[in-house]
């Protein structure tokens, strides 16, 4: 009997604490599922400025909430995806985009890795050629062959 009481008490305390630790209330979804889908689409391409490695779609930061609200209103006012992104870039810079526009300022970002790959390939080519040259058996001169024969005969 005692055991049962303890168990019930434990279960009850679990339930109690679980309800305590649920934290912030969920932000209500807008009524329009179409709008919400577009919001998710757009905000997956946008960076949350506070957490930096999270997208605006998945971030729980307060600023992300505010920005999602802002994007919702821009969608409602009939702005295109590009216009919405431009709106955010004008305020937070290219950093807010996960796929920044290709322009001279972002060339290093876009093409840098390929440039490094090409440089690495050139180094590899040069290295392999050198190694092959080292490993290739040197042709024996007639004189050396003669000497080798003598030595082998003992």
């Amino acid at each position: 009997m005692k055991r049962v009481v303890v168990r019930v008490a434990m279960a009850m305390s679990l339930v109690l604490f679980a309800s305590v630790s649920t934290g912030r209330e969920a932000v209500p979804m807008a009524d329009d599922p179409k709008l919400e889908a577009r919001l998710v689409d757009i905000s997956q391409e946008l960076r949350c400025l506070v957490c930096q490695n999270e997208s605006l779609a998945s971030s729980h930061a307060e600023l992300a909430d505010d920005l999602r609200q802002e994007v919702r209103e821009l969608i409602r006012s009939g702005k295109s995806d590009q216009e919405i992104k431009d709106f955010l870039v004008a305020r937070y810079g290219d950093f807010v985009l996960y796929r920044p526009e290709v322009k001279p300022l972002t060339w290093v970002l876009w093409f840098g890795p390929f440039l490094l790959l090409v440089i690495a390939a050139i180094f590899l080519g040069v290295y392999l050629r050198q190694r092959r040259a080292l490993a290739a058996p040197a042709a024996l001169s007639d004189e050396a062959r003669e000497r080798a024969k003598q030595l082998l005969k003992g």
């Binding site: 912030r24 400025l49 930096q52 505010d66 305020r91 937070y92 810079g93």
Partner: protein, 192 residues
């Protein structure tokens, strides 16, 4: 001998590269607003039922400092701003950013109630810690903050006589930053 040195040089290069990367603050994101006109707004001030807009500061070099009573780094920054304001070198306008936070029970109350509560809290806080601001404006919903690209409080903007943003700093202002960066910039902007 030369060949032996190549990996060493590469390694040192890599170390320097990573060390520089470690030293850089990832919060320092270059603001696209630098060199652009400060976004217009018209917001209630902390003091009374007047509104303030950046156009009121036309012809003056001024600082816009984003703050809130809930912001911990602001408390650290505040004595620096108070001491700085006592020298009367440049007017500092405060932007009280989202004083009532979403987790606050008062968050969903009507605008007027929120404004009243935010004013009360801010005034108490400024009385206790000193008031460096010529005025503060109440950005309750953070919309003006979004227009200024605010993503972490405190932030400080230097705005020139023509109303163009010349400098932005994210984080707590330090005496060194004031002396080395902000004051020379203000002196230069005041000359023109």
């Amino acid at each position: 001998m030369k060949k032996v040195l190549i990996p060493l040089v590469l390694f040192i290069g890599l170390v320097v590269f990573l060390a520089v990367g470690l030293k850089r603050d990832p919060r320092e994101i270059p603001s696209p607003l630098i060199g652009k006109p400060a976004p217009e707004f018209s917001l209630f001030t902390l003091e009374g039922d007047t509104k303030f807009s950046p156009a009121d500061m036309q012809g003056k070099v001024w600082l816009l400092n984003v703050w809130a009573t809930w912001c911990v780094a602001c408390r650290e920054e505040h004595p620096v701003l108070v001491a700085f304001s006592e020298k009367n070198q440049v007017p500092i306008v405060g932007l009280s950013y989202k004083e009532i936070q979403p987790q606050d029970p008062a968050y969903k109350s009507p605008f007027d109630d929120k404004l009243k509560l935010a004013r009360e809290r801010s005034q108490v806080w400024l009385k206790r810690h000193g008031n460096p601001y010529v005025t503060s404006v109440m950005d309750l919903d953070g919309r003006v903050g979004i227009n200024y690209g605010v993503y972490g409080v405190p932030e400080t903007y230097v705005i020139d006589k023509a109303g163009v943003i010349r400098y932005k700093f994210v984080g707590a202002v330090t005496p060194a930053l004031l002396a080395e960066k902000i004051l020379p910039l203000i002196a230069e902007l005041n000359k023109s």
